[in-house]
């Protein structure tokens, strides 16, 4: 391995470019997942059966089939239906829809966890369902969702590694390229392991900060 003077700084640069793609995927995927989580999660507790059925179908489908199959479909099959997305768009779509389905269950769970008593107080105060949801239930449900959302975001970050399937030059993919070009396995993979961990750490730190913010004033209520 010593016979070539490998330009490591250059190859690490390649991996960092991949890290940027991973970061983009994570951020945009999380944003989409968040939207889907609320849409489908609230859809699940809707009083209209059609809305509930739609939300349930979405959730069960995306939780049921593997992310690999979903990526494959979005990237290779959707174009036959006339929808051609860039690799980044396809990655964001598949990851966002997939993680959003898990997030939807979190939203539903948290909304349900804000117990009957709070709902009844809203009825007794004659708030409409929408008002109750917006002013009473969601503000309390949000802090309950955050820890799981944090986990979901980290899951999504890790999920970006599988987008190499659709030729998106994310961090794992770049590590593979570097490996093929240099013949060295340990360095590229050790590098991306550390990078992934740092990103996960950044997510959980940010979430903890957010959690502290949204639970301010609630101290001592939930035991």
């Amino acid at each position: 391995m010593e016979h070539t003077m490998t330009d490591w700084s250059g190859y690490i640069g390649l991996i960092l470019q991949g890290a940027l793609v991973t970061l983009q995927l994570t951020v945009m995927g999380s944003a989409l997942a968040l939207v889907m989580a609320f849409v489908a999660g609230l859809g699940r507790v809707s009083r209209f059966i059609a809305v509930r059925a739609l939300a349930t179908t979405y959730i069960e489908f995306f939780r049921g089939t593997s992310i690999f199959v979903q990526l494959f479909w979005v990237y290779f099959v959707l174009p036959f239906a006339g929808v051609t997305l860039s690799p980044l768009q396809a990655g964001v779509l598949a990851l966002g829809l997939n993680v959003g389905a898990y997030g939807a269950e979190v939203v539903r769970g948290a909304v349900k966890a804000i117990g009957r008593e709070q709902r009844e107080a809203c009825i007794a105060l004659n708030l409409t369902r929408g008002q109750a949801m917006r002013h009473v239930i969601l503000p309390q449900a949000l802090p309950l969702m955050l820890p799981t959302f944090c986990n979901n975001a980290i899951e999504l970050l890790k999920g970006t590694a599988v987008v190499s399937l659709i030729s998106l030059t994310d961090m794992t993919f770049q590590a593979q390229v570097v490996r093929a070009q240099t013949g060295n396995t340990l360095i590229p993979f050790a590098t991306i392991l550390v990078l992934y961990f740092l990103m996960a750490l950044a997510i959980s730190t940010a979430m903890r900060w957010l959690e502290r913010r949204v639970t301010r004033g609630l101290d001592g209520v939930r035991t």
Partner: protein, 256 residues
Amino acid sequence: DDGKLEELKGQGFARVAIANEPPFTAVAADGKVSGAAPDVAREVFKRLGVGDIVASISEYGAMIPGLQAGRHDVITAGLFMKPERCAAVAYSEPILCDAEAFALKKGNPLGLKSYKDIADNPDAKIGAPGGGTEEKLALEAGVPRDRVIVVPDGQSGLKMLQDGRIDVYSLPVLSINDLVSKANDPNIEVVAPVEGAPVYCDGAAFRKGDEALRDAFDVELAKLKESGEFAKIIEPYGFSAAAAMSTTREKLCAAQ
């Protein structure tokens, strides 16, 4: 009609699928893509009036579906011409030719010289890229499925050989040479070419329906070959221009 070519000219680049396999493809430390296949494609497209290529590295298995789904305009990746593939895509005239090779342990302890030898030795395991020519050759020679290990990429294959997980790793000669020279491992030796295995050539693979573009490509490719430019591009990577020029798509696609 030339709609596709006009479209590429309009956007100024062609989307090319390449493999992660030197020397067919090389990626420099600065991220610049070179290697025999992309270099040829770049040159031909330039002559066609398409300023540049945008190369995206792809798994072998994802190339053809990507092409069919319109993800790439062309594949130039050492995807060898074979009758079934000729049915799935529209090939240009041959570009890069290579024979098959084995990488194996020093001294070839199992004495493997052909795919048939592997089939006959119940202990021998062969590694090959999934969906690649080598996998098919091994299966056709009678190696049972559970002794043909699908290996995701060249480095993985070499590593598995070094670790004793497989006994043979089979790739085109130049790919094996590149791998082995990078590994610089005295315990690995190369058998090339593999006995009984034909020489294969790849071509630029276009989507069925883009035959017009393919034909235009062929015209410029022929000029390139004639002028000697072609040899200048691919020979530094170890490929033989003469081999490519001595055969045709028609022959290769008909070969059995």
